[in-house]
């Protein structure tokens, strides 16, 4: 019963949040000066008043803003996201065709970070203030502090230019090998550097989060009790310390998962990865409103969804959450 209420409440909240996001985004993107017609004119080094007027009329950009907003919200509610001003193709198609590339990149980085980050954090915590801890803490600080594009360019210089081990950009070779397995391997090789670049940033965050949470938990009374009971050290660490230290990790993983859709603009730019973050960035510069709003919407849906999953997981990890605070 409580779960059902939670579900219902969540759905109402999600619907309201998404509607607010649609309206807010619509207003935000219109704050920027200029429109798609002026961009196209600027790019072609020739402008013709007929062309400008026709372009604006074709997409209804000459109508008053409130009317445009109403039309847009109405269209979104009927699941029609419109066409791109620039390519005149349905934006839903454009977003969907770029989505797999982004999910592959952010997903790989996510899994890599979740596997490596907490493990390093635990290691640092149980070896606190010893060389291993120092090494991990410093490395985490470095990868957390260095801008992603800088790390990316360094990796390209080192692994592609100097060593020639890995391809520096793109998602597949120009002449892809034949055979499904060979093709998958080819994409995997292209994936290594961007996923590593993006992943290391998150590894650093998880390592620091985990280490901090572990050390904080380790000093609590119930851990001392567990040790006094004579439990073996590995049991104390896994069953008592880690279970409680996991809560901030789950929370942050939920946040990162929300970024799976739009959170890789920099990595996609440096590595020419044909994903959705880059699509959104270009759409913004080109004032391709429909396309930009579609990416925002997809990204908002992902965030809302993962917030929900995070809430569920936190309830499972700690039964006290959600039981109180009625």
């Amino acid at each position: 019963m409580r779960l059902l209420l939670f579900l219902l409440g969540w759905m109402v909240k999600a619907a309201l949040v998404l509607l607010a996001i649609v309206v807010l985004n619509f207003c935000l993107v219109r704050l920027a000066p200029g429109d798609v017609a002026s961009v196209l004119a600027g790019e072609s080094g020739a402008a013709d008043p007929d062309f400008l007027a026709r372009t604006r009329a074709e997409f209804g950009l000459d109508r008053p803003l409130p009317a445009q907003l109403l039309t847009y919200v109405g269209n979104v509610l009927s699941l029609d996201l419109g066409v791109s001003y620039r390519t005149r193709r349905p934006v839903a198609d454009m977003v969907l065709e770029r989505m797999p590339a982004t999910l592959l990149l952010t997903g790989a980085a996510f899994v890599f970070a979740l596997l490596v980050g907490p493990a390093l954090g635990v290691l640092a915590a149980i070896r606190a203030r010893r060389p291993a801890d120092t090494l991990i803490t410093v490395a985490a600080l470095v990868f957390y502090a260095m801008p992603i594009f800088w790390v990316g360019l360094l990796f390209i210089l080192f692994f592609s230019v100097t060593l020639g081990w890995l391809p520096p950009f793109g998602m597949r070779s120009m002449i892809p090998p034949s055979g499904d397995l060979a093709r998958a391997l080819d994409t995997a090789r292209h994936l290594v550097l961007p996923a590593l670049t993006l992943g290391l940033f998150y590894v650093a965050i998880y390592a620091r989060l985990t280490r901090g949470a572990m050390l904080e938990t380790a000093g609590l009374d119930y851990v001392k009790t567990a040790r006094a009971k004579g439990l073996p050290e590995w049991r104390v660490v896994t069953a008592h310390i880690l279970r409680n230290a996991m809560l901030p990790i789950i929370t942050f993983a939920g946040l990162q998962a929300g970024h799976l859709v739009g959170g890789a603009i920099v990595a996609e730019t440096v590595f020419a990865w044909p994903g959705i973050g880059r699509l959104a960035f270009d759409a913004l510069l080109q004032r391709d409103y429909n396309l930009l709003l579609a990416v925002f919407l997809a990204s908002a849906v992902a965030v809302v969804l993962f917030n929900f999953i995070t809430d569920l997981l936190l309830r499972l990890a700690d039964p006290r959450i959600g039981a109180a605070g009625r």
Binding site: G34, A41, E43, G45, M94, L157, V161, P274
Partner: protein, 495 residues
Amino acid sequence: MINSTLWPEPPGIVLGINLNAPTLLPSTKMFEGLMTYDFDLKPVPVLAESWVIAPDGLTYTFKLRQGVKWHDGKPFTAEDVAFTFNEFLPAVHARSKTTFERVKTTAVDAHTVQLSLKEPYAPLIRSFDALSAAIVPAHVYKGSDFRANPVNQAPIGTGPFKFKEWRKGEYIHLVRNDAYWQAGKPHLDAIYYRFIPDSASRALALETGQVQLAAQTDIEFVDVARLAKLPNLKVTTGKGWEWNSTISWIEFNHRRKPFDDPRFRQAVMFALDREFMRTNIFFGLAKVATGPIQASSPFYETDVPKYGLDLAKSAALLDEMGLKPDANGVRARVKLLGLPYGELWNRVSEYVRQALGKVGIQVTLEASDVAGWGQKFGNWDYDMVVTFLSMLADPALGVSRTYVTSNIRKGVLFTNTSGYSNPEVDDLFAKAASNTDEAVRKQLYSRVQKILSTDVPVAWTVEIEWPTITSAKLHNVTINGFGPNDSFADAWLAK
């Protein structure tokens, strides 16, 4: 097979419907014009074998090449040319529209077309290249909505390369046209245009041999000199960009004081060290501009007022106007709208602020992105603005648009946005456009250049010498005035 960089990803790849700079590179391989133009901008036959211009300049007769096939196998005929000039270009081509609205084209027979005009139009003979007038297939476009025609997704032309695939966000793939009209050409099997958003990554792609070609704005100028030193790369500067001929300038809004006073505009010219800009901002990939017409043009005039760096003269002009320095040494406060095309242009803005500060003109920089820049510039909402523009093959096409009164049109970029208006200049430009005698035109344009260089409607800074960077193994990329925007029928890759 070669790889080329291409950024940004173009909105479409049909010449005429799309005119954006990134459209040109792939689409010029698929579409052809009646002619192309050599380094001196003299006509070279392509789809036209020969032509005759009547002495009164009102009739042009073209003999078309025979045996040319469209990529779908249909024959190319006079019908296609007549359709392109009469219907297609006036409807879609923002720049050539005005040229071909003057012309009526008739198909005399399958391989002859006749163009007739009401009055002579000198730049017409320099308007038949692929960028200005690519011939499109009538059997595909006739009677359709040109912009929405599905064929635009997989274009059909007569050029040496055919469309194969466009992977959004990744690359455009063209393949050899085996039925190309020049036997034995092209030499390349395929061209891939790869979208690499980051200029540092593009430079790395050239270094590692992942791509064999980058041009114009693909590589930051600061990197070009470094790449030129590498043994596996070749850098050509300026050559191949004769048709494009880009001049950069600082434009003044004449509707606002003090920009309406030529003395102020001259003072700005004397305050700028354009030689410094050439070497330190453009890294030598530029020439100091002396006026409205580029040095490579047959109509270029050297005998015009020169503006070397002269701070004393600059200050004297400002004194004469009555712009005295106040307690802080400031004579005037003005805004400068920067050009949002990367680091180089930010440095131009910063340099102008510094240089004008020395003579007491306090400049506040305004930043924006491409859309914002276009909006403000087109709507005359600026004091001064950094810009650059192509001068094209003839001053009547590329130069006069910036200075004639009849082209003051609010809300439209690349028109006479400064608001400069001078009846004598209008008259000279009009006469030069309708006179087909080159010697007479040269005299008229010389007069125009003398007047404009005195009036300084805009402060010309440099003529940009765009770089073309190729693999040392790639040959015949730059063979005429279009450089990498030529058809690549002759390009070949050494083993």
